[in-house]
Every structure is written in structure tokens, then in C-alpha cells.
């Protein structure tokens, strides 16, 4: 009998040991998971800020004759990303801290109207010596954006022509025999029929994600632990067929962050924006009786002879909400479809 109890107790002690090991493991997992969640939030906030900065550059060089065309500065986006990312980890956005954060980003991309930029770690300064750096010839590496690369497309049947797509999808460029011509509409697809807009976006998407995947593989070439594949889904939802890259976008991969966790963790974030046409709201003062009252209306609703009606224009807004915030009232007279209250 005594031997039996001894055996049972030994089993129980084994179970207890397993419980403790499981407990420690669980705590580790919990910390890890929380840090992963935090990293994904941090990357999202930082890419959002980066995209915002992209579009706040003052002059986007937009033109009414060329829909969807704009110019972006990728360096600004990366700098803002790093600033916000530093603050997410409770670090001040100094040059040194930003340089530390850059080490966690193997690749970043900015997709613009007619091309994209890819940032990767490149040799920016070589201390005079030959390329494999030694103690005597020190060299500096930095995460730097390369040249703007076009969204090229070549039909497999006809390689004499190279097409360059753009996000406006209204026209494309054709390079044939050394001459560049503008082609109205989209180029033919593989079967020879006219390319659809979804197909064109897929090519743009594939182009960026393939380049990013190449850079990541190059960066991790010497790492035996790198087994992941990288791709940007060409469709996020099947309800609206939303494509992640169909406007100016900022894509960042954060890899091997070991700031707050014991094991390095990785994250990925795409932030995109859309260039849209706004129906501008015009704010003005219209005489009503003896006084002038502040009203707003859509710019196209205002009659051409507004000056003869005594209307004095003040400002333009992009949304009625902004106009109302500045103390302007909705002008029912200018809108013929507004229901007349008896």
C-alpha cells in the first residue's frame, strides 16, 4: 500500500512540475502576444502618420487635366514614421533613436502616381577602402530610398513593347524601339483584349510586392531562420474588391523588434490614402433685410451673377461641416431640391 501512495505522489509531483513549466511558458507567451499586438498598433499609427505627411507636403502638383496625378516626397514619410514609432516605444525622436529604429526596417515602399520608391539598407558612405568593410576602412549603412521605378508591364507574347502603367488608369506610356509614346487607355492584356482596371491594379500591386519580397530575401539571405514569404494581397475584401494599393500608399515591414520583448518580433503595415475630388463648399455673406448673414452653399449651386445679388464671398471649404464649424449656415435658397417648409 505504501508503495502505491509513493508512486501516486511521484506522479503528482511530476504533474506539478509540468504545471510550473506550463505556467512560465504561458507567461512568456502572454508577454509575447501583447508585444506583438502593441507592435502592430505602433506600426499602424506610424504608417498612418507617414501617409498623412506624404499628402501634407504643401504642393502635390495636382492638375485638373490629369486626374489622380500627384507628387510625393518619400523621405518625409519615412522620417515621420520613425518619429511616431520612436514615441510609441517611449523614446524621444532623436537622430540616434531614429537610426536604431531604421535597423528594424528591412524594407519600406512608397507607391505614387506613376511609380514607386523602395527603401533598403544601402552603403551610403565608404571610408575610402574597398567594399568589404574592415576596421581600417569604416563604412556607413543607411535605410535610403532608391530611384523612382515605373509600374512596368510587358506582354509575354510581345516583348518589343514595354508599358508603364499609372494609378490614374486613364492612359499609359509605351516604350518601343527607343521611343516613348502616350497611349490613351490601358494596354492590351495577355490574351490581347483590353486590360481591365482591376487587372491593371493587380499588375501595379504585384510589381511593388515582388520588389519588396526581393529586397527582403536579399536582406535575409544569410539568415538561416528566414522562411517566410512576403506578399501584398491583391484583394483585401471580396465585397467591394478593394485593392490595397490604388492610391498613394506607404508600406513598411518591421522585422526583429527586440525593444520590449525577449524574443525579436515582426510586424507589417500598409497605409493608403485616396485622392478624391471634393465638391467644394463656398462660404459667403448674403444680405437678408438690413443685416448680412453668413451662409454656405456648394460652389456649383451659386448663381453666376452672385455679385449683383449682394453676395460677398469669404472662403472655400472642402466639407459642409468645416463651413458650419466656422459659423456659416446652410443656404436653402441656393439648393432648389431642398424641401420647402410651408
Amino acid at each position: 500500500m505504501s508503495r502505491f501512495f509513493g508512486f501516486v505522489n511521484m506522479m503528482v509531483i511530476l504533474f506539478l512540475g509540468a504545471l510550473l513549466v506550463g505556467y512560465m511558458n504561458y507567461i512568456q507567451k502572454e508577454k509575447d502576444e501583447l508585444e506583438r499586438l502593441k507592435l502592430s498598433y505602433a506600426a499602424d499609427f506610424a504608417t498612418d502618420a507617414g501617409t498623412m505627411e506624404l499628402l501634407n507636403t504643401g504642393s502635390l502638383d495636382m492638375d485638373y487635366t490629369d486626374q489622380g496625378s500627384f507628387n510625393l516626397n518619400p523621405e518625409l514619410a519615412l522620417d515621420t514614421f520613425l518619429s511616431v514609432f520612436c514615441l510609441n516605444y517611449d523614446m524621444q525622436p532623436t537622430e540616434e533613436n531614429k537610426a536604431l529604429m531604421k535597423d528594424f526596417i528591412p524594407v519600406a515602399a512608397v507607391a505614387t502616381f506613376d511609380g514607386y520608391y523602395v527603401a533598403q539598407h544601402t552603403l551610403v558612405r565608404n571610408g575610402g577602402g574597398p567594399y568589404p568593410e574592415t576596421g581600417a576602412s569604416d563604412s556607413d549603412w543607411d535605410l535610403a530610398f532608391g530611384m523612382k521605378l515605373p509600374y512596368t508591364y510587358e506582354r509575354s507574347g510581345d516583348t518589343s513593347k514595354t508599358y508603364a502603367l499609372n494609378m490614374g488608369l486613364d492612359y499609359s506610356l509605351v516604350l518601343q524601339d527607343g521611343s516613348l509614346t502616350k497611349l490613351a487607355g490601358l494596354p492590351p492584356n495577355e490574351t490581347g483584349a483590353a486590360m481591365s482596371r482591376i487587372e491593371a491594379r493587380k499588375y501595379i500591386n504585384d510589381r511593388i510586392s515582388q520588389h519588396m519580397a526581393y529586397v527582403i530575401d536579399e536582406t535575409n539571405r544569410t539568415s538561416p531562420y528566414w522562411h517566410n514569404r512576403f506578399f501584398i494581397p491583391s484583394q483585401l475584401t471580396n465585397i467591394r474588391g478593394v485593392n490595397p494599393i490604388e492610391g498613394p500608399s506607404f508600406i513598411v515591414l518591421v522585422q526583429g523588434v527586440n525593444l520590449a520583448s525577449v524574443r525579436p518580433i515582426s510586424g507589417f503595415s500598409v497605409a493608403g490614402t485616396r485622392i478624391d475630388q471634393a465638391r467644394m463648399v463656398v462660404a459667403y455673406r448674403r444680405p437678408a433685410g438690413a443685416s448680412m448673414i453668413k451662409y454656405y452653399a456648394f460652389a456649383d449651386q451659386l448663381p453666376a451673377n452672385y455679385a449683383s445679388l449682394g453676395i460677398a464671398l469669404d472662403e472655400m471649404f472642402t466639407t459642409p461641416r468645416d463651413a458650419a464649424e466656422q459659423g456659416y449656415y446652410y443656404d436653402a435658397i441656393m439648393n432648389p431640391s431642398y424641401p420647402n417648409v410651408p
Binding site: V12, Y23, L37, Y41, L87, D90
Partner: protein, 149 residues
């Protein structure tokens, strides 16, 4: 004699396994959901401020209540880093973020930084101390976002 000793030990161990294990698992999973919930409350506040460009007293009160209602008492610090752009004297410009006391008005480009710290230890942390005499770090997380409006 050894039989009695084994019996007593057996009962004790059975108690630890039957009562201790579910307790450990329960407190740990509660901790995990608490941490996630607090993190979500933080992103919620940052999103609200980023999109609306203002932080009212009501929103602050709601936030303070929300972070402390998931298990332990939490304390939060909300900092506003105002974006300042100056010429750098060499034809370019330099962006810096200046910490300001006024967190009622926000400009586009400002950064909101929210730090949440636990005042109290959680159940799982206390258990960890009792069982293994480890004193794990209290919950502390920082998140930051940029104001869009």
C-alpha cells in the same frame, strides 16, 4: 508510518493540483484579456483624438474610468508633442516635436503619446510571487499617434 506520511502529502498535492491549477489558469487568462483591453482603450483614445483633433474633459474622464475597469487600477499620462517646423539655415527645414502642457487644442501633425501604468499588482502576478517568489514587472505600455485634422 511512511504510509500515513504519503497519504498526507498526497492530499496536499491533490489540493494544489485541483485548486491551484484552475486558479493559475484563470488568473492568467484574465490578465491576458485585461492587457489587451487596456491596449484597445488606448488605441481608441488615440484614434478619437487623431480624427477629431480635440480632447475634452469628458473623453478624459471616460478614458481614466475605462482603463481602470479591467482588473487593476491604472494610471495614465497623456502628452502632447506639438509639431514645430523651423528653417535649418541651410535651405532646408527641421521638424521637431515640442512637449506642451496644453492638451485641449491639437493641430494637424501633433503627436499624442499615451502611457498607461498599473498602480496595483494583478492576481496572476501575486500568485507568481507566492509560488515562485518572482516579482514580474507591472503593466506599462506606451502608444502614440499623429493628429490628422
Amino acid at each position: 508510518m511512511t504510509d500515513l506520511f504519503n497519504k498526507i502529502l498526497g492530499v496536499l498535492l491533490a489540493f494544489v493540483l485541483l485548486a491551484g491549477a484552475p486558479l493559475v489558469i484563470n488568473t492568467l487568462s484574465k490578465d491576458l484579456s485585461m492587457n489587451r483591453n487596456v491596449l484597445n482603450e488606448m488605441t481608441n483614445l488615440i484614434d478619437v483624438v487623431c480624427d477629431s483633433g480635440r480632447l475634452t474633459d469628458d473623453q478624459l474622464a471616460d478614458f481614466y474610468l475605462a482603463i481602470s475597469s479591467h482588473g487593476t487600477t491604472m494610471d495614465a499620462t497623456i502628452k502632447r508633442y506639438m509639431k514645430v517646423v523651423n528653417p535649418d539655415g541651410a535651405g532646408g527645414m527641421r521638424t521637431s516635436y515640442v512637449y506642451t502642457n496644453d492638451n485641449t487644442t491639437w493641430n494637424a501633425g501633433d503627436i499624442i503619446k499615451v502611457t498607461v501604468q498599473a498602480v496595483d499588482y494583478t492576481g496572476a502576478q501575486r500568485l507568481q510571487y507566492r509560488m515562485l517568489h518572482l516579482s514580474p514587472a507591472k503593466f506599462e505600455q506606451t502608444l502614440a499617434g499623429m493628429v490628422r485634422k
